[in-house]
Symmetry: C2
Amino acid sequence: MQDAQRKARLTEFLDRIWSGGEYDAIPDFIAPQYVIRNDPGDPWHGQTLDHAGFRHRIETSRAPFPDQAFTPVSILADGDEVAVSWHWKGTHLGDVSGFTASGKVIKMTGLTVYGFEGLRLNGHWQVCDRLGVFMQLQANAG
Amino acid sequence: MQDAQRKARLTEFLDRIWSGGEYDAIPDFIAPQYVIRNDPGDPWHGQTLDHAGFRHRIETSRAPFPDQAFTPVSILADGDEVAVSWHWKGTHLGDVSGFTASGKVIKMTGLTVYGFEGLRLNGHWQVCDRLGVFMQLQANAG
């Protein structure tokens, strides 16, 4: 029962916060302390964020790709964790990592294990295909 | 019950096959057809492998890092899938991707969702931090 609730909660979180940019709903989905346990290449790797810090991270990440969308592939719930594999895409409309906006669609895959406290997320352990993104940005710039 | 068996099975697979190189045990762990559903940057991305093909993939992957070891972080079982987040390290003792052996330890993190048929694996959906590995190899070569 709780597993199904948490999976639905995670899908809603990805849809409304990451894809939709509904920043005011962050406190409904995120615990007061959110720990980024692993996220190589992410500027917030290793940090603990409050709601304001979490909002800043999402705003900064969405700025170059304002239409970005996450699509879950598999969602697994077990104990206090939920794992999700996902596709991501976004149109490169702002500067990122030294690459000026190209107007091209960038695609990425990744997986994330989220920790739950009740029905709110208290952190994640994630790896994204950043090498693939780098190669796409470089090809578009060439 | 089956969830616990599959988690134990996956841990044993990572330990004996990927870390230990016990190639003769592959048929005990792998279904006759193994599908690599997602593994960006991996030469076998998108392919379906039989036991011989699977062995070739593992032998090729282990050659530059013969002491490689995977250490699971979280393991989640749900339905016919098991997700695992992991640390990897190996000593760079053979040439890989144009980088000659440096003798240095390389580290990586990743996550994998494995599909099960009974107690054998029939495929995976994975992302590894290949950008982090590339940066380490480049730093060691410089």
